[in-house]
Assembly symmetry: C3
Homo-oligomer: 112 residues x 3
Amino acid sequence: MKLVTAIIKPFKLDEVKEALETYGITGMTVSEVSGYGRQRGHSEVYRGAEYTVDFVPKIRLEAVVEDLDAASVVDVIVKTAQTGRIGDGKVWVVPIDDIVRVRTGERGEGAI
Amino acid sequence: MKLVTAIIKPFKLDEVKEALETYGITGMTVSEVSGYGRQRGHSEVYRGAEYTVDFVPKIRLEAVVEDLDAASVVDVIVKTAQTGRIGDGKVWVVPIDDIVRVRTGERGEGAI
Amino acid sequence: MKLVTAIIKPFKLDEVKEALETYGITGMTVSEVSGYGRQRGHSEVYRGAEYTVDFVPKIRLEAVVEDLDAASVVDVIVKTAQTGRIGDGKVWVVPIDDIVRVRTGERGEGAI
Ligand SMILES: Nc1ncnc2c1ncn2[C@@H]1O[C@H](COP(=O)(O)OP(=O)(O)OP(=O)(O)O)[C@@H](O)[C@H]1O
Ligand SMILES: Nc1ncnc2c1ncn2[C@@H]1O[C@H](COP(=O)(O)OP(=O)(O)OP(=O)(O)O)[C@@H](O)[C@H]1O
Ligand SMILES: Nc1ncnc2c1ncn2[C@@H]1O[C@H](COP(=O)(O)OP(=O)(O)OP(=O)(O)O)[C@@H](O)[C@H]1O
Ligand SMILES: [Mg+2]
Ligand SMILES: [Mg+2]
Ligand SMILES: [Mg+2]
């Protein structure tokens, strides 16, 4: 199994969530984060200020998925979260050893 | 070493923390997240509303543990966080390369 | 590629960010978390209270980096976040399969 983590623009969350549901993803976890990429946040936000802009609010989305779904899930997120402007985000994939559903104690792919 | 990540119901945090301490876990990191599983949050919260309920508040707990402790730590979390109702949570395990204690620079299992 | 995750004292974030930029790190993601280590938070905060102090506010910093940079990035964080007092933090390293830049669809090291 894989843990897919995506950092996306906050206004894209609903669209990404719906695209993942359409694909068949049954669960996800999200949180509010801040960050920046190669432009260090410059020109991602406009406040008419002269001080250095750096951390920009983003959404962090995590989904544990089956191995066979990982590449498609990444594609769905990238396609849906893309606006073509800087700061659109990053998606990375981490291998996981195991997952458990707390209510039932089920393990492995059946627990996703 | 392993990174155990658990998504649990917020009211279960104190109990899970105490159970992990009793087991011998010496450190953890928690944050506020939102999420949903197979029911997409339906009937996990009741607001008398007709709109689609989806993201439900959860706690994300992370603990880096020794390889030999990982299975027991997962068991302790699952047993303690379990209410038997939907939305009880997920626990997953990721292999890590290394950990460092910032104050001392110690590395590996001694740094946990 | 590697995902370096650091839990540091909040007042150290600016300094760590600058040190990572000086090293050449081009992106990172941060969030607010709480946690404790071996002292269970005792004497990390002082509120003149008799109740048990446990979760202390920390910053969680994530940076995906090239394999060759991982050890140096950990060193830069440890050196910069270190005060010598308890609660300075932890840094751990997780191997990742892949990363994608959402705007362009680039993958792998070029997408960092
Ligand atoms: N190397 C990284 N490690 C961890 N998080 C990162 C990294 N790079 C970017 N991020 C996160 O992703 C968010 C979006 O990054 P961003 O899309 O600006 O990347 P970029 O490489 O600068 O691409 P672009 O040129 O399209 O802006 C950042 O705000 C940050 O939260
Ligand atoms: N595949 C997943 N990836 C990442 N996070 C998940 C995933 N599935 C669930 N979660 C997280 O775990 C929380 C609890 O999920 P939940 O317990 O409802 O899972 P479930 O499979 O629907 O089990 P149950 O049938 O017992 O409700 C969600 O709110 C979400 O934050
Ligand atoms: N095993 C662990 N797993 C996950 N997070 C941890 C772990 N240990 C510590 N942390 C996180 O790191 C933060 C700082 O930990 P801390 O520096 O107190 O570790 P320590 O081992 O007690 O070292 P010190 O003796 O220098 O205080 C904690 O508040 C917590 O968020
Ligand atoms: Mg950018
Ligand atoms: Mg559910
Ligand atoms: Mg400590």
